[in-house]
Amino acid sequence: MAQEENKLQFDDVSVTLRGERLIENLSLTVGPGEITTVMGPSGSGKSTLLAFACGTLDPAFTEKGRVILNGIDVTHLPPEERRMGILFQDDLLFPHLSVGENLAFGLPRGLSSDERRARIEAALADADMETFAERDPATLSGGQRARIALLRTLAAEPRALLLDEPFSKLDARLRERFRRFVFQHATEQSLPTLLVTHDPADAAAAGGSVIEIGPTVASGISEGGAHLPQDQSHGGLTPQVE
């Protein structure tokens, strides 16, 4: 499939937890290299949306609707076959593996060992961390860990990138730099990117369309419920905030 066709679509998605609606009839399309931001207060179901996209939603949730990646319905595929790259608030580097091994964990199967080594070296160079392959991830700085986490995600050759507030735990200066690092990679690789955040600065930096979810007074939906105004619930490409 050609790079240009990279596209992440949500089709009429609803998620319920014990009778409480977290996400209601959400439809949304993110095109190649686009960064769409989902905003909302904590507990509004932002992370739930990403878990739904990855297929790692806790079985306690009830879900409806489809996720379509590059024209393929992946809703019923197990997470490991969806090729959705995800980045969390914490870097979640595996503590028992070295930096290089963490990157290797992400690489697809079937590559020759030379190719694997080359890709790991390229990734380390990309992070300005050429000599770090053998290092214990616990000894890295916050910024280094964050970059390795992104490169590990990209090593798996994802078709879309999901960002679950990955900047929120970094300090202001680092946040700015890492944000640029992530967005630059996403655009270069033409990945449709969905960013979840409660920080308006993230949304502004992303420069794509912004969707608000979570309780809104006007709609009269009870606390904790999610709501999308009508004009936003179809064709998420309608630009809202620039």
Binding site: P78, E80, H96, P108
Partner: protein, 560 residues
């Protein structure tokens, strides 16, 4: 396949208990076709009621069990109340943890020797302080009232209850609660007893009941330390089971059923005691007494805990020294001549029991680990909520007295031609190993950050690969520790080995119990020391291996 593991586990685990109970109850009312019992009769119960001294036996079981549990719990709470949050608390905990892995039998035998008239304690103060040039003619172990028996149970149960309490403290907001009460003017110990204890007790109630059930129905420790004429009910029942006159089996079955009733009565009494304490405690807690009497209370409870730890260690050290003694005359504090000969002479006869002990222990621990991991992984993948009822099921083999279902279990095993085999032995140990492995592994397993797993899956790793390459390596230490716990539990099993082994398999524990009755102290020392050393080695491996493998992985290193 994963979906079937919980059902399989429960079948392997609870079916034998239920079947064993039935297999005990039926013969008690005369139904045991193998021995010609085909008609319903209460003859066995009548014989039981008329057995000389049966009343004393029952009373002894109840009083020793309740006393041992209550004393252990008081020491534990006193220690926590006065030391919680201090550096000393950490020290006590580290000292007490190794005692947890020591088999009951080892503690009991070591303790009996320690306080015997020619034991270490008397030797250190004789003859200069006591004037005893010869060992005094006192019956210390066993004594008439079961005091040594109670003391040995306390030495063994305090470490267990203390560690369970510490685990429970970690799950409650103990530190915050404590600082709130302290800021209201309460002394530290009073604050702990008035506000933290009520949070902790419900969490450790099941372990407390397990301790109570064990103390009320213990066989191995009782054989070594309890009064023997008449003995508590459980060893009496075992005596009947072992009687060459097979018709005694009906009496034994009735006795085993009675033992179950005795445990139920003990639990009922405990519930009443809880009520009384809660009512009095509520009045005390709301009465305003700030109790800044910490000093004396603190010294007393630290003293009591130290004595318990000291007794535990001295019991084992005494046995280690006996195993190396050539000449150790009264009243010398240490042997005058040392030798490795005791070990060399026992080497041949040790080989077989050691092999049985290790192979059964390793097999039972590995099978239990596989089942527990299967259950936990199943729970995670299908989002099942663990329930309290589940926990009660797990505790069943620890709450039902062993004599009450192991006999019936043996009857069933013989019936399917399985008795006295190695797999039967492993399976009988599994019943007791499984709950402990579950208890020790559940928390670390459930606490592992689920997002590591999600990250791995989203990187394209299959659930199986994620399990082996992410989950297991990250949980290596708790997994190995739980294996060591399981192994230690297996090593300490006496009654299951006697019943399921059908007399064909001997372990270090069964040998030690047999030898304790009258063999040379130096020989007993060899067995007891080895019996205590095996679980210890297992723990050293369980803690050492991950530390070595992850020496360059700071996040997986445990804070010292």
């Amino acid at each position: 396949m994963l979906r079937w593991i919980p059902a399989l586990t429960l079948t392997l685990f609870l079916a034998p208990v239920a079947a064993g109970l039935i297999g005990t109850l039926l013969p008690s009312v005369g139904l045991m076709p193998v021995l010609g019992g085909t008609t319903l009769t209460l003859a066995a119960w009548r014989e039981l009621a008329e057995w000389p001294g049966i009343g004393t036996s029952i009373r002894l079981s109840l009083t020793t069990g309740l006393a041992a549990t209550a004393i252990s719990l008081i020491i534990v709470f006193a220690c926590c109340a006065t030391c919680h949050g201090t550096r000393l608390f950490g020290t006590l905990r580290r000292l007490i943890s190794p005692l947890l892995s020591v088999p009951h039998v080892a503690v009991a035998i070591g303790f009996a020797y320690l306080i015997s008239p020619s034991g270490w304690i008397v030797r250190t103060i004789s003859p200069w302080a006591t004037g005893w040039d010869l060992p005094p003619d006192l019956a210390t172990a066993p004594d008439q009232y079961g005091l040594t028996y109670i003391a040995a149970l306390v030495v063994k149960e305090v470490p267990f209850l203390l560690l369970m309490t510490i685990a429970a403290l970690g799950q409650t907001r103990a530190a915050e609660t404590l600082s709130v009460s302290r800021s209201l003017g309460y002394g530290p110990a009073t604050a702990w007893l008035k506000t933290v204890l009520p949070l902790v007790y419900p969490q450790i109630r099941l372990p407390v009941l397990a301790v109570l059930a064990f103390s009320t129905s213990a066989v191995d420790v009782a054989l070594i330390l309890a009064p023997s004429n008449p003995p508590p009910l459980a060893p009496l029942v075992l005596r009947w089971f072992n009687d060459p006159d097979l018709t005694r089996h009906f009496l034994a079955a009735a006795g085993a059923s009675l033992q179950l009733a005795v445990v139920i009565v003990a639990v009922a009494i405990w519930y009443l005691l809880e009520r009384v304490v809660v009512r009095a405690g509520r009045r005390w807690a709301t009465g305003g007494d700030r109790g800044r009497w910490g000093g004396i209370g603190r010294r007393t409870s630290i003293g009591a805990t130290t004595i318990v730890i000291f007794m535990g260690f001295m019991s084992l050290h005494g046995m280690a020294i006996w195993s190396l003694a050539r000449r150790w005359r009264y009243p010398d504090v240490l042997p005058s001549e040392w030798t490795l000969g005791n070990w060399a002479r026992q080497a041949d006869s040790l080989a077989w029991p050691v092999w049985t002990t290790v192979s059964v222990g390793v097999a039972a621990a590995l099978i239990a680990l596989a089942l527990v991991l299967g259950c936990l992984e199943n729970e995670k993948r299908y989002g099942l909520q663990p329930t309290t009822r589940m926990l009660w099921l797990l505790y069943t083999p620890l709450l039902v007295p062993q004599v009450a279902f192991l006999f019936g279990g043996q009857v069933l095993l013989s019936w399917v031609g399985f008795a006295g085999t190695w797999p039967a032995l492993v399976w009988s140990h599994l019943l007791f190993v499984l709950p402990y492995i579950f208890l020790s592994l559940t928390d670390p397993f459930r606490k592992l950050d689920e997002r590591y797993i999600r990250s791995a899956l989203c990187l394209g790793a299959s659930p199986t690969r994620t399990f082996w390459q992410v989950k297991m390596p990250m949980l290596l230490r708790p997994v190995l520790v739980s294996l060591a716990v399981g192994f230690a539990v297996s090593v300490s099993q006496y009654l299951p080995t006697v019943f399921a082994g059908g007399g064909r398999y001997v372990t270090l524990t069964t040998e030690a119990v047999t030898l304790a009755a009258g063999a040379d102290r130096r020989v007993v020392g060899v067995y007891v020391f080895l019996q205590a050393a095996l679980p210890f080695v297992a723990f050293v491996i369980a803690l050492g291996l991950p530390a070595w493998l992850y020496r360059d992985r700071r996040a997986l290193r445990v804070a010292p």
